[in-house]
Symmetry: C2
Subunit: 493 residues, 2 copies
């Protein structure tokens, strides 16, 4: 007889297979597809997503989930069942009409935003965003009722299961105590340390070659993945075949180099997820925040450290040509430059959390119903002034219209960037305790012990443990922003 749990594993394996096709067709759309394929691809992917939703919300699913809880399951199976229930609930809670309305409103808002942002057209954008917010509140209300939590917490849980706005308030409140002042001091200090900018052009072929060499150094398995080009860099594909992308600018190579390193962090996590449970939810990455912790571990903790930068400088010089900017001291300063700016995605690791906290405060109030869309610009201006000392009045395009997230109703996503940065710092300290010769090893390019540690403590667990437990097991304590503070102080002061 087939147990309910077996019915579920079969169903989720089927879903994983369709997810595989969706991931590859989605990657192709961003990297390979010629323009005329766009409409047919969109329709094909939408058809697949309808099918995936049908399978996940099949009428037998609830009974299987109930019955499986009575079956004899080992620890991993129980963790898998928990993830199955999460996936089912996420899909099944919302009425189909709301899902469709949200998808249409999101597409419309995003599509129009692509023109409205360059045109600085806040009024036009606000009209579409209102509809997205209205539907996101509806979604949040339904999820909140089911989970017995606040609206915003219900959305947050989609990206970082178990996280609450109470914990974020505490953690981000801690950061706000010391980060603006730290930023001030770092900027003042660096004002006295001029940086030579590398002189291009830097041919795409050389940049790609350097990217591939760095991926190799960082343990990327080319037997199970690729590097390509797309307008917006991402890490896609499936754990068996991870596809990362970057974009090249021949005038400047550091962005693509660090972008490749960042995506390689995401990729190594994917490539080293547990193989035995493949196709099951428990084998998937833990959460958006843990994913980002791995990319930021690679980029911020490891790759922007002086020992790592000194180790790779010969590779960089070989591809880009020796020049005054590519001396050890200047190369480190170049990659550790801190600068207040309007744009989140261009921000360094010191100012980045302030961009995130600003958005978190606004979106939490927006979903909670404390503010409306028309209140956003004034709040944005005020917070940018307070946290970053910048004037954004009237500059919507580089202010509250700069991100894609809200256009699609992805409220609750922003905090994961800074959670990831804090997890990364905390994990790196744990690695440092485990490897007393860490800096020497990094300077010598002996990175395998680091990857072994990450594999042992994070990668191989997939979604087996809740985030809090995963972090506590790996680092010996709960999320603690003091590790992030210490990291910033030691690197920048």
């Amino acid at each position: 007889m087939t147990s309910a749990y077996q019915q579920l594993t079969r169903t989720f394996q089927r879903l994983a297979r369709f997810g595989h096709l969706s991931a590859i067709a989605g990657w192709d759309m961003q990297t390979m597809m010629p323009p005329a394929g766009s409409q047919a691809r969109g329709e094909a992917l939408a058809e697949l997503s309808v099918l995936q939703h049908q399978i996940l919300t099949d009428s037998r699913m609830e009974a299987w989930l109930e019955a499986a809880q009575q079956e004899a399951l080992n620890d991993v199976e129980q963790a898998n069942l928990l993830e199955m229930r999460r996936a089912w609930q996420q899909a099944a809670l919302l009425p189909a009409a709301l899902v469709e309305a949200k998808s249409i409103a999101g597409s419309r808002c995003e599509h129009a935003w692509r023109q409205q942002r360059p045109a600085n057209d806040w009024q036009g954008f606000a009209a579409n965003l209102q509809e997205v917010v209205r539907l996101s509140r509806e979604e949040a209300e339904i999820r909140a009722q089911a989970a017995g939590c606040s609206r915003y917490d219900a959305l947050l849980d989609l990206y970082e299961p178990g996280m609450t706005s109470a914990q974020l308030d505490a953690t981000f409140g801690d950061l706000l105590q010391w980060l603006p002042d730290l930023l001030e001091r770092v900027v003042a200090k660096q004002a006295a340390e001029p940086v030579d900018m590398p002189l291009g052009p830097f041919p795409v072929a050389a940049q790609r070659q350097l990217g591939l060499q760095l991926m190799k150094l960082l343990g990327f398995d080319f037997n199970a993945g690729r590097l390509d080009v797309s307008a917006h860099p991402f890490c896609g594909g499936v754990p068996e075949d991870v596809r990362i992308t970057t974009r090249y600018n021949e005038n400047e190579f550091v962005s693509a180099m660090m972008g490749v390193i960042h995506e390689t962090g995401h990729a190594c996590y994917e490539q080293n997820l547990p193989k035995t449970w493949r196709g099951q939810p428990v084998a998937l990455a833990r959460s958006t925040a843990i994913h980002e912790s791995q990319s930021l571990f690679f980029e911020m903790q490891l790759a922007r450290s002086a020992p790592f930068l000194q180790h790779i400088l010969p590779l960089v010089s070989a591809q880009m040509g020796e020049q005054p900017a590519l001396t050890p001291g200047n190369f480190v300063r170049l990659n550790q430059r801190v600068k207040r700016g309007f744009i989140r995605v261009d921000a360094d690791e010191v100012s980045y959390p302030l961009h995130v906290i600003l958005r978190y405060e606004i979106e939490r109030a927006l979903i909670g119903g404390d503010i409306e869309v028309e209140d956003i610009p004034a709040l944005w201006d005020e917070k940018m002034q307070r946290y970053l000392g910048l004037d954004t009045q009237g500059n919507y395009r580089d202010g509250c219209m700069q991100d894609i997230h809200w256009t699609d109703g992805a409220f609750g996503y922003f905090p994961t960037y800074t959670l990831g940065a804090m997890y990364a710092a905390q994990l790196f300290q744990a690695v440092r305790r485990a490897l007393p010769q860490l800096d020497k090893q990094i300077a010598a390019g002996e990175l395998q012990p680091i990857f072994d540690w990450l594999s042992q403590n994070i990668w191989r667990h997939g979604s087996r443990f809740p985030t809090a437990q995963l972090i506590a097991q790996a680092s010996g304590e709960d999320l603690n922003p003091q590790h992030f503070r210490r990291h910033l102080e030691q690197r920048y002061l």
Copy 2:
């Protein structure tokens, strides 16, 4: 109320969307996928193919097909309904167990063949092939009963609907009357006309550039397609986004050049299929043989003609460097060389049909039960001797083990190559009648009138007409091998 015909069009649109994903994931597997992705990709595509089969054999399908025949349908809709019924019948006739057994036996036979062919291991191969033949006969028997025809004709119909072995016997019989003798004379004539071989190396980048230029000349729409590399060249993707491939050898550029032109013929057919009926069976290419007629029209009729070769020689010289072999006379001789050989895929257009007829005669007898697998080598040797004057005794690897088709049970496919060649010759003569200045136009690179004619007479019709009608409308007569004969005589004697 939704009519039965509307139910059907919805179902087939859904199938087309899933087919889109299958085509792109299949293309990716051949061109982009790293090795470790192979198993997961195979499983994902198999899951999709199970789904497609389920949709196509849905229990309501037969009733819809019956009911739609009573509904008021226009000509195109009626043609579409006919194609729907064909597709349904192809999928629904066979018991699921047979489909699965055939798929397993085919995979096993093909997989082992990849080792057995280089090892010249006929005995090992024969054991697997017997099982494939047994299951193919079973399939043929079921299809033959339903269609009221012979077993072999039932399989032939899968690749060239409406074609029969009676017509093939007549047509191929005609060819056998004059082709071996013609081949003899051409070989003798060319013995007195030495050819200079181009001296390489020919860098891949230059070969790719030439390929792209020729695709452009031949009307390929790069807004709706791509050129990539794969081990076995093919034309894949979907009409909105056609993906052709080639492979490069730096010692020799003509094969890749002609390969690209061949696949461009397939691609232009796909890109110019009717847009109004997109997603419906009637909008698809007519048949395997008509598809091949378009690639052979491009490659054999057009591109190996002296005016075309003279027109492209400057492009070729610009990429490959001027050299004695790239003078007008030699370049034509090089591309019109006829040579008896063991290998079908390397054959010129004069000897190619003899390779096909040999296979046709063997596979027809095999499916009919007149011979068994162990009889194949002796028959192969005898026919190779008779048709091509070559001794293949004991050389299975370059004899009856050289092709992949039988390993997968694709009996009935081979004749479409030569049907395609004959259709191509017949259509080219029709173009010549329509365009009295044809050779001058080709020599001047004015090819648009040819594409317009093909679009008007073949491409835009999709599967609206049966092949025989399509050919008769386009050329004014039924399939007539004399056009092929005249073409060969005029070019080679």
